[in-house]
Symmetry: C2
Subunit: 376 residues, 2 copies
């Protein structure tokens, strides 16, 4: 396509798929790199390249085909990205920001150095070092790298829990006494403009440690909103990179806001922005990639986002039960990710609900949880 901006996406999952739905609004030519056949993003891109996003040569060669490179997952080959950036390729987010975020140890050090409030922590190399931090319990032990979607995290409340600790480089974080979990999505373009979405509030499903549903905007005091907004901007400024980022935070029982972690990309906690905000996180990413002014983050209406997770005991070709009942509700939007196979706990889609107030949202969400099932 003559003259169209060539955009490369590392990763072919649902975040890439939803980005590509927005990409079809622009004069761009899209390239997806992902291993495996038929990932969610492959059917909506111009070009799908099967290959390992962690392999230096593969990522480097992929990057040489495009004008701007982005990610939809942070577990990618960094060396290739640094090399490509050195050769002049635009990469949003920048490899330097990815490097900080990919390593949960570096990420915590980064918050500390930049005076961004976060829970206390120590870095350890081996499990036996836990013995010298017994007074620091209870902690969340997180693998410094490789964790994803709740994997790579263990809660250690007392010495008796040490048997389940990881024996690998990890960060141990003082467990926060959580009042609420919130997330703020922020974007920055190459010109340095920033856009901040209203904070959203997350409710977790303890069975899978995945976001169960989230409500936008979060119920916060004005003070808390201002604080969350400021922290998100501080993280963005310290990262010093164009891109879109999700800053996940805890509001603790003392009323303080602490950063939990940052994702250097569109995020599950921003899915509701597709219908719930005037500019979706995906359209925002498209604006960043093309160097355009940023969009309007204000909410259309209060919204609630519910993940659709593979039911326990079902593995195989996916079947969605209850879509008919759910789509009969007013202002309910189903997003299925085009994954062929379900398995217990797999993210297969999400549903966004718009409503006048939280009460209406929760009522519809209850109905949907009761009726919509991902089985095989």
């Amino acid at each position: 396509m003559t003259g169209a901006l060539r955009i490369g996406i590392l990763g072919g999952g649902q975040l890439g798929r939803m980005l590509l739905q927005s990409a079809a609004n622009y004069h761009v030519e899209t390239f997806v790199l992902e291993s495996g056949s038929n990932p969610p993003a492959s059917s909506v891109s111009h070009h799908f390249v099967a290959g390992d996003i962690n392999d230096y040569e593969t990522v480097y060669n992929f990057g040489k085909q495009v004008d701007v490179l982005t990610i939809e997952i942070e577990h990618v080959n960094l060396e290739a990205l640094f090399k490509l950036e050195g050769e002049g390729l635009k990469i949003y987010p920048r490899p330097s920001a990815l490097q900080i975020i990919k390593d949960k140890g570096l990420q915590k050090e980064f918050y500390k150095v930049n005076h961004i409030p976060t829970s206390g922590f120590h870095l350890i190399q081996r499990k036996h070092e836990l013995q010298s931090h017994i007074n620091f319990l209870p902690v969340a032990q997180k693998l410094r790298s490789g964790g994803y979607d709740g994997k790579g995290v263990e809660i250690l409340r007392e010495v008796e829990d040490f048997h389940k600790a990881f024996d690998a480089p990890s960060v141990i974080e003082r467990l926060v006494s959580i009042q609420k979990e919130i997330s703020v999505i922020v974007a920055r373009n190459a010109q340095g403009d920033t856009a901040v979405y209203p904070a959203v509030e997350m409710v977790f499903d303890p069975r899978y440690n995945l976001v169960d549903f989230l409500v936008s905007p979060a119920e916060l005091t004005d003070e808390q909103n201002i604080a969350a907004h400021k922290i998100a901007i501080d993280v963005l400024n310290a990262l010093n990179s164009p891109g879109i980022f999700a800053v996940e935070m805890f509001l603790n029982t003392e009323g303080e806001i602490l950063v939990n972690e940052t994702a250097p990309r569109t995020h599950n906690s921003g899915h509701q922005s597709i219908e719930g905000n005037y500019c979706s996180q995906y359209d925002m990413q498209m604006r960043v990639l093309q160097g355009f002014p940023l969009g309007d983050t204000s909410p259309v209406k209060p919204s609630l986002m519910l993940n659709l997770i593979g039911e326990p005991n079902f593995t195989g070709p996916v079947v969605y039960q209850g879509l008919n009942e759910v789509l009969a509700l007013k202002d309910v939007y189903v997003h299925l990710y085009g994954k062929h196979e379900t398995k217990p706990g797999r993210k297969m889609g999400h549903v966004t609900i718009l409503g006048e107030d939280k009460e209406e949202l929760l009522r519809k969400a209850e109905f949907i949880k009761l009726h919509l099932k991902v089985v095989s």
Copy 2:
């Protein structure tokens, strides 16, 4: 894709492309049939089949691959569709509805038989027959078949205009003294539920020198709104087909509403529904195709839709000028159709604007018209 509904689309233009952006929210496998390489819809479908949508064998064989068939242009091979329907294939809209609409003569007869208000008309076979309708002037002469996007229409005000008349089967329609042109998009699913969008208004404002733009909702009296709504439902009931239809109407200077013509598909006058209404016309079509309950047609905010047309004197690989300025405006949404080449008058994309009132919409539209240019 095991278990996914296989949806076939006849035609690969921008209407197909926008339908496919919505299709990626559902558990479906998509097939596009269109001649030529790289039409707008090809890069966002699972399967693209190059072939002539007017060829019996091609359409028939394409239809045998899918579970449900739809169109994004009405100029398709009807015989193949009747054959496929006879063999049990779901085709929305039904071939019987397409047959009526494809032939502007049959379409006018259909309105007359069903007591749907429309301007007076006569059918003629050859140009010389105009002589016996001199008292019926002024008229719009429309070719019974093959017309599209304003092509195949001649205005004959007096006998002196007859030299430009078509010498082919055509309908001559009494020229309406137009107060407003409006359009109502209606949908029906196989269960017989209907959904009606608020009427939109085609605005011709010489101040802004716009080819055309459209404002939603139309400025109509309650009575006019009720009448337009009722007429659209009457057309839908008489067509007796699932699908999505655009009923274009005139409000004449006497305050009567007359049907101009009906499109058996999503329509240019519904593009603004993507951001301007809670359920877009494309999501609505996806609901119809899957047999789901219909969506919410109410407006999010007042909206204005502006077509992006190739500038005169530019032919070749397309360049969009002024996107940066336009995307700096609040709540402006650009949709570029992925056409590689521009030529004078070619529809290359559209822009939707949301705003608090018509005044704000017109102000933004004027700015966009001034800054955004489709050149080469």
